[in-house]
Symmetry: C2
Subunit: 343 residues, 2 copies
């Protein structure tokens, strides 16, 4: 791996009261999901389904598609590595700053990467690579593209296969998934991760969706039994109760607006625009790595030092909105750091 990862909570577990570094659902798993995990324990005695076919059928029902539109993956990460394997020794466009695993997966598979800043992305942009990764909404910026914009971009670039990462699509007011266009626009794949929405990233399960022929070509690189029995059975329960279990993001998005405004009032910190519940903050003075260390030790807050995202520098960190009490804890930490450094 080239870059450090986002959620490094496991390194500081004992010290952390509030984890702003991870973008997963802040309330954690619903008790019903934890019960489903518990009920799944006996399934560890046998091998899981090699490819998670039962869950594919349930996804087909949720998204009004067919089971052969889906590949179940070991989190979204496995999806990017499988896709990159299928396109090894070709070329890819990556819009920066973004999730570092696209570049890592490309490098491991000898894919030559072209980097374009997100601000240069127009819907008539001419792309000259075999594949292109688009994170929508984008991580770490929270920027969201409307479906129409993306579909126009795809129509302009029919020789490019777009890998649209919708891991955070649920963390927005207006979900802009292009999954419904899977049969009308032939040159995209969707990657989605269930576990962020349901607060269970430790389970590791996600999916690729696309037209059957595309899905079949990628599935060639699938490692059998890659998703464990507990994850599969739990996600089958979640799929069966999808609408009821899916959290409502509206209150958290409102809290996010307040949180950003309060950060901007401190001075020296610019909480940037976002369509989601996480956002970048730019600091006028000092470095995000120093701030991160200070906050861990000062008040048990963990932030995401975003300086290692390609296209960002030491001034950037990423925050996920949590509940009011924790957000205040961080605000106090930022104020204290400002006083401490005299910045």
């Amino acid at each position: 791996m080239i870059y450090g990862h986002g959620d490094d909570l496991y390194k500081f577990q004992d010290k952390i009261i509030a984890n702003f570094s991870s973008n997963v659902w802040y309330k954690g798993p619903d008790p019903q999901v934890l019960d489903a995990i518990q009920r799944s324990i006996p399934f560890v005695k046998n091998y899981p389904e090699p490819n998670g076919d039962s869950l594919c059928k349930k996804l087909a029902s949720i998204y009004s598609l067919n089971a052969n539109n889906f590949i179940i993956t070991n989190g979204a990460a496995e999806a990017f590595y499988m896709i990159a394997q299928a396109f090894r020794q070709t070329t890819a466009t990556i819009f920066t700053p973004t999730f570092s695993e696209y570049e890592d997966a490309a490098n491991v598979n000898d894919i030559q990467c072209s980097f374009i800043p997100f601000e240069d992305l127009k819907n008539d942009l001419k792309i000259r690579t075999k594949i292109a990764f688009i994170c929508n909404p984008n991580n770490p910026t929270g920027q969201q593209f409307e479906s129409g914009f993306l579909l126009d971009l795809m129509k302009t670039n029919t020789d490019t296969l777009f890998i649209v990462d919708e891991a955070y699509a649920d963390f927005t007011v207006s979900r802009q998934s292009i999954l419904p266009y899977i049969y009308s626009i032939p040159n995209f794949l969707i990657v989605h991760s269930f576990t962020k929405t349901f607060g269970i990233p430790g389970l590791r399960i996600g999916f690729i969706a696309g037209q059957p022929e595309q899905v079949e070509a990628i599935a060639r690189f699938k490692i059998p039994w890659a998703v464990n029995a507990i994850a599969l059975h739990t996600m089958e329960f979640v799929a069966d109760n999808y609408k009821q279990l899916k959290p409502s993001m509206a209150p958290l998005l409102t809290e996010c607006l307040w949180f950003r405004e309060e950060i901007n009032k401190i001075g020296g910190f610019e909480a940037m625009q976002s369509s989601t519940t996480y956002f970048l903050t730019k600091m006028a003075n000092g470095s995000a790595s120093a701030l991160k260390e200070y906050l861990i030790n000062y008040n048990g807050c963990l932030i995401r030092d975003a300086s290692n995202f390609r296209g960002l520098n030491h001034q950037y960190f990423r925050l996920a909105t949590l509940d009011r009490e924790k957000n205040i804890l961080l605000l106090n930490g930022l104020r204290a750091w400002k006083a401490y450094t005299g910045s």
Copy 2:
């Protein structure tokens, strides 16, 4: 995937009383292991360690090596695919019949395979491929090679990297692991799967062991967070209590001897030699697939139709030894099938 898989229990779940098709520990997980899984549930709220470094340290302690000798993998399957990726577009030797994932992983990575029957394997055999897969003891035959034999083979073929699959090493009287020779013989990697020994294949966790430089070259192809939080934390508990939790195989190996003798008494079935608790059986008349279907429907026994192993044909099936009561159930099924078919 080219071939069907062994444990297809999930297809027949409702009908099966006794599963002879899977080689995992027949008694299922120890209650302490199930408790450890239960205690691991809260960890799903966060991302697992990307590479399982904490478990690597515990493996180092169990095997008297260093943490950097190990890569934690999503079952043994991920290990073979990672290794094949690292050697893509080269050449491999596979001794047949054997576990089909070596060939699958090689094919996906454009590795040209040479197939040699196991009976032609001598310790002075000259191998001309970049890598060679050896399953010891072998699946499906149960044949075991002594460490000295394998080390001689490696010394004869210093240009070949040997991938020694020790998934079933615990299922023998005299464990012939070559892991202790990792620093004296430079051209091998070990792949091991914990979950067979502890009866928890649904958890998906295993490892690659080798010299640090070799391990580092393979780790380049590792998908981050590929092992989920429950599997990692449970296996840390198992590693901490390794000697106490490891099942004693001796009684099951004794039962296996009796089981094979009883099969051979029926007539028309030849239960073949094995150093482990599973073995191949060759039938004089009819096909393994027909027998499999008959046993599922007649008395709820699931066997492994072994006809799709390269080098075997429709006459072969594989059996894992279970407890006496279940073994008798299968013996009755084989007798009934013999009477039913008039063979």
